[in-house]
Amino acid sequence: MPLLEVRDLTVVFERKGEKPFTAVDHVSFDVEPGQTVGLVGESGCGKSVTSLAIMGLLPRRGARVSGSVQYEGVNLLSLSDREMRDKRGRDLGMVFQDPLSSLNPVIPIGVQVTEVLERHRDMPRKKAMLEAAELLDKVGIPDPTRRLSEYPHQLSGGMRQRALIAIALACRPRLLIADEPTTALDVTIQAQILALLKELVHDLGTALVMITHDLGVVAGLCDEVNVLYAGRVVEKAHRHELFAAPRHPYTHGLLSSIPRLDAPRGEKLNPIRGSVSDNIPWSEGCAFAPRCPNKLDVCVRVTPEQEDIGGGRLLRCHNPVKPPVAEEVSA
């Protein structure tokens, strides 16, 4: 049985005086215990909203969530606020994008680690402090005991993200969701944090949902990859197959834009013309059609359905990219 089973997860934002906006549209995917699954797509395609919906962190007002999120066989969407609070931090951990703003600036790091231990593992403060020092050590923070009494602004960006990873993993959750955990960091630090995450989830047997706009991150980390476009999964495949033979034109475009390590930091990668926002909605044909090099006449009239194309792959496209013959043999 999968650890996490997301089925037809849909999030609609109701906005005053505007049409409701569907940020996540019938997204389904599974995460097996210990597996690392990638959610990939450009900014605005619904990755963060998906993760917040799983964690039960969307604003209570204005966001309509439907579908189901089964975690260990329990539908998280049907839990009460109190039951969900018991699960968060204990069974599901989350790491966010910006480590500085994600830490409370006026509370020592130590308290920010121990509070989750006190909450879920009933540890007294003293014991939790020892455990916290051990956790900081495990995520590679030097001199952890001293760091416990320091404040977020006294740590470097990389150290802050390490601390947040320690916090998220403090109660040994079986699932960790990382939402662009390296986007706000320097390139060299990015690689370190990714290596750390990979090592930790391997050692602890934690399943990881890795959210990123960067296929380079996926390449080194993920078992399965879901490519999102405008709130829908357009392609799903094992990492090797996806890289060897991307079938969706959007994935194909993304793959030819993997950033080189020597690319200047902060440079916008824009190999695919246009952006998510100026798309037609999925209700009238394919949302990617305005930017698609493979577009057919049918694409703007008929919305492509998700199809199983064999080998554990799913695809949503009328005119997929032809797989390169040689690669297919080796795969």
């Binding site: 964690m55 962190l57 969900m84 609070r85 018991d86 699960k87 968060r88 931090g89 204990r90 951990g93 989350m94 966010f96 910006d98 703003s101 994600s102 830490l103 409370n104 600036p105 006026v106 509370i107 020592p108 308290v111 509070e115 989750v116 909450r119 879920h120 404040y151 602004h153 006294q154 947040l164 916090i167 998220a168």
Partner: protein
């Protein structure tokens, strides 16, 4: 931190010196003066001249000021000519200052104890009926003149609540220790006296509290709204912390920074409010003395009270700055 404190206190000495000179000159530039106030309509030129001489007002202002400074250094701030004629200005200050401090402290306490929780609740229910009503109410709190509210409390509500409306304490032969009547009652364990003094404080304190309450409420609401949008609150939620922990440790702790600053700035407004409130409730505090002092041009009392009020204002704001550093480690560890 210590060096910062010392520097601010040295600055304070400079401020007091400059202020005292300006006040000294300004008070004497006001139309009228203590002589006409004391002698009234039926003065003769001779009696006026005699009194002017007796008060030393015939000398050049600068000479008067230097003499004043010399005497002030030995603790002599002159004799009251209007508020309590014949009493030393220092005695008047020592009697009245504790009264106003007690009144203001209770007012601030009410403002904070009501304003912060209400501000938090309004922010949490942003746009809801509770939010709208309390925001409207706080606007009213700022807009309604203090003295109007004071009269309403005094004339309409006091009898219903059975609370006294005049003075600081009934004539009940209480022992005086510090001049803070409530505190004295506690120190001497004369509980009746303490309670009686407290009852006398309630209505004027409520009147005085309205504006600081409205300000604290609005600042808390705005600050909490800002903090609720912060990423670290989402992190706290992602840890599954209980709602009270998140409220106290993550939301309010951060939202308190602007609120504390506001409280410091409100001390100035409190004194202005005290002038009106003390008048309505015949409360023998600094505000009442200032009002009478201005009417009767009581230079020594006005000078001492205004300078002391300034010192209090500066010291309170210094304490605010220091507590700011206590709340925010980014300032402390810089």
């Amino acid at each position: 931190m210590l060096r910062y404190t010392i520097r601010r206190l040295i600055q304070l000495v400079g401020v007091v010196l400059v202020l005292s000179l300006l006040l000294f000159a300004w008070l004497r530039a006001l139309p009228g003066g203590p002589v006409s106030a004391l002698l009234g309509e039926r003065s003769t030129p001779e009696s006026r001249e005699a009194l002017t001489k007796q008060l030393g007002l015939d000398q050049p202002i600068f000479v008067q000021y230097v003499k004043f400074l010399g005497r002030a250094l030995s603790g002599d701030f002159g004799v009251s000519t209007g508020v309590q004629p014949g009493d030393s200005a220092l005695d008047i200050f020592l009697q009245r200052f504790p009264a106003t401090i007690e009144l203001s402290a209770l007012a601030i306490l009410i403002a904070v104890a009501v304003g912060i929780p209400l501000g938090y609740m309004a922010a949490k229910r942003r746009g809801g009926w509770f939010d709208n009503i309390s925001v409207g109410g706080s606007l009213l709190g700022v807009a309604v003149p203090v003295f109007f509210l004071a009269y309403v409390l005094k004339d309409v509500l006091s009898s219903a609540l059975g609370l006294p409306t005049e003075g600081r304490q009934d004539a009940i032969n209480a022992t005086r220790v510090t001049g803070f009547f409530v505190l004295d009652g506690v120190l001497t364990q004369e509980w009746d006296a303490a309670l009686n003094a407290l009852e006398h404080l309630i209505l004027p304190a409520v009147a005085l509290a309205t504006i600081p309450f409205a300000v604290v409420f609005r600042i808390t609401r705005a600050a909490v709204l800002d903090v609720l949008d912060e990423d670290f609150v989402r992190t706290a939620e992602s840890k599954g912390l209980t709602a009270p922990t998140i409220r106290r440790r993550h939301v309010l702790r951060n939202a308190m920074l602007p609120v504390v600053t506001t409280i410091g700035l409100q001390t100035g407004a409190l004194l202005a409010g005290a002038v009106l409130t003390e008048k309505v409730f015949s409360f023998a505090g600094v505000g009442q003395a200032l009002a009478i002092g201005f009417e009767r041009r009581d230079y020594p009392v006005l000078l001492l009270l205004i300078i002391m009020a300034t010192i209090v204002y500066v010291v309170v704001n210094l304490l605010v700055d220091l507590s700011y550093a206590l709340i925010d480690p980014r300032i402390r560890t810089r």
